[in-house]
């Protein structure tokens, strides 16, 4: 028994190098799937994509049965589910207190956070590719049933933009997770941010002249919506870059600072 416990052979067997980022990332990906809630959250991506496709086939007017209609219908639930996945990937360490183990096995917290971001983005990209592929199938089946012509009205560049837009939603979730380190607070914050803020911003833009021109630079929801519509002008890209810096990058850096110094209890 003693040899099992004090297994000095293990140190020779395992390189005593730093725990590499790739390994932490693989473990973080594993942790996103290995609980019942995590599994169903992932499954909800597939379920939502399929339901949206069926719904579009059943309820969309025949004239609207184009690929863009499918992509939009499937893309919308993704912008809700992906941020939740990103939030929980971060906050679980604090809310479920598993961080006590995680951060003692990998004391470099920045590496753990980076691994979580990579794992979340991987899931996000895979989900969006799945969603777009489901849209292709939906378009093929839907138009065949309705007997209308196939319309592929989403260019490759537009498709890439849709994926980017969804990833921005996901990264907003990551940012809120890092900033608040609490599942309920971060989730509520996300819905305030994505549902309440655009309304306030829209009202302000309608009533105040000065905000109308400023809005695309400071309202990420607004700037980001262009990504789902099609191709962007240079100025629109600048809007996305500036507003994403304000709403995602800067708060994430503040949050990272808090993660580094906060106590893990």
């Amino acid at each position: 028994m003693t040899t099992l416990v004090l297994d000095r052979g293990l140190e020779r067997l395992v390189a005593a190098d730093q725990v590499p980022l790739s390994r932490v990332t693989r473990v973080e990906l594993r942790k996103m799937f290995d609980t019942r809630s995590g599994f169903w959250l992932m499954a909800s991506i597939v379920i939502a994509a399929l339901l949206s496709t069926v719904g579009t086939i059943l309820f969309a007017p025949d004239a609207d049965l184009t690929y863009y209609t499918f992509a939009k219908a499937i893309g919308f639930p993704m912008t809700v589910i992906l941020p939740m996945i990103a939030v929980l990937a971060i906050t679980g360490e604090w809310s479920q207190r598993s961080g006590l183990t995680t951060f003692t096995l990998v004391p470099r917290r920045r590496r753990v956070v980076l691994a979580k971001v990579i794992a979340s983005v991987t899931v996000g990209v895979a989900s969006m590719l799945f969603a777009l592929a489901t849209g292709v199938a939906g378009n093929l089946v839907g138009t065949a049933i309705a007997g209308v012509d196939l319309v592929w009205d989403v260019s490759f560049a537009h498709g890439v933009n849709i994926v980017l837009g969804s990833l921005l939603c996901l990264l907003t979730g990551t940012m809120l997770g890092i900033l608040f380190r609490s599942s309920p607070v971060a989730l509520v914050a996300y819905f305030v941010y994505s549902l309440l803020l655009p309304t306030v911003s829209g009202l302000l833009a309608a009533s105040k002249e000065w905000f109308h021109d400023l809005r695309p630079w400071v309202d990420l929801n607004f700037a980001q919506s262009a990504l789902f519509e099609g191709s962007l002008t240079g100025e629109q890209w600048a809007h996305v870059a500036v507003s994403a810096t304000i709403w995602v990058v800067l708060p994430a850096l503040v949050g990272l600072r808090l993660v580094m110094t906060s106590e893990v209890k």
Partner: protein, 298 residues
């Protein structure tokens, strides 16, 4: 080897850990003893980098915890057995640690066997585990990397008597094999039974530390004779301090051997001579009386 030097933690103006220094040595079980709220858990979190010390240093085998490249191979940590995602199975939690440290997969079943978690139990979610099962799983996670240092916060909590015996034998064997064990407890009996060295803490300060033998000796001697007045005089003449106990016996701050010798040289026949009190418990209560919550209320 764990070396702690002038470790302090303040939250605002409140000092939770106040300049503690001690070492936990290889081959020995060091018991970190103190009443609830004494600063044990905060100290342990500082040792493994989960809480930033306000001042002071901790080194493990000569290095700061944050500088250990793959800490799981060198330090086994269990700070709270319940701090796991309730939705994961015990086997999965071990699997995550095994993968993160980069260990061969065989370590998972080996550890499950070591801590006596059955196949069925290991495939259940830890949300349904008893505290005792969580402690066993926590020990398995701590030991999976084959570390030479163990840091365990209240590991005996929630274990039944057989579990406590098991834990004691496991840690004894581990220390005898050259490992360093630091474990905390507010259960005096548990520490007294298992520890070689004891560090006693109250209100963030170390109130006593040393080997168990030394500390027991420091508790003094209870002595009684037919002629109590002559005994007291003889002890005082030999330079020993005494206090009179409620039942009329004297408690002398010396080894029983010294007290016996003094009595013989003075020609006093003793009727009783023994180590004072019930061991560490008396000393623990005595040392922490002014720092304990109960003490304040009284």
């Amino acid at each position: 080897m764990i070396t702690i030097e002038s470790l302090s933690k303040k939250y605002g103006s409140r000092t939770v850990v106040d300049g503690i220094s001690f070492a936990a040595r290889p081959g020995r079980v060091t018991g970190f003893l103190g009443p609830n709220g004494a600063g044990k858990s905060t100290s342990m979190r500082m040792m493994v980098g989960l809480t930033r010390p306000t001042s002071g240093d901790v080194t493990i085998s000569g290095r700061r915890f944050a500088d250990l490249p793959n800490p799981g191979l060198e330090v086994g940590v269990m700070l709270d057995a319940s701090a796991q995602h309730a939705g994961r199975t015990g086997r999965e939690i071990l699997g995550i640690a095994q993968q993160l440290i980069g260990l061969p997969a065989r370590r998972v079943p080996e550890m499950l066997e070591l801590v006596s978690l059955t196949e069925t139990e290991s495939n259940r979610r830890v949300g349904g585990y008893s505290l005792g099962m969580r402690q066993r799983l926590g020990i398995a996670v701590a030991l999976i990397g084959g570390p030479s240092v163990l840091i365990l916060d209240e590991p005996a909590n929630g274990l039944d008597p057989a579990g406590i015996r098991w834990m004691r034998d496991l840690l004894r064997g581990y220390a005898d094999g050259g490992g360093t064990v630091l474990l905390s407890s507010h259960l005096l009996h548990e520490i007294e039974v298992i520890a070689d060295d004891i560090v006693m803490i109250g209100q963030g300060r170390i109130v006593a530390q040393g080997s168990k033998a030394e500390l027991l000796q420091a508790a003094g001697t209870v002595v009684r004779a037919r002629n109590m007045a002559a005994l007291a005089r003889a002890l005082h003449e030999s330079g020993l301090t005494t206090t009179t106990l409620p039942d009329g016996a004297l408690r002398a701050d010396a080894d029983p051997a010294v007290v016996g010798l003094v009595a013989r040289e003075s020609g006093i026949a003793l009727t009783e001579l023994r180590t004072a009190g019930g061991g560490l418990e008396d000393m623990f209560l005595q040392l922490t009386a002014d720092t304990q919550r109960e003490g304040k209320a009284a």
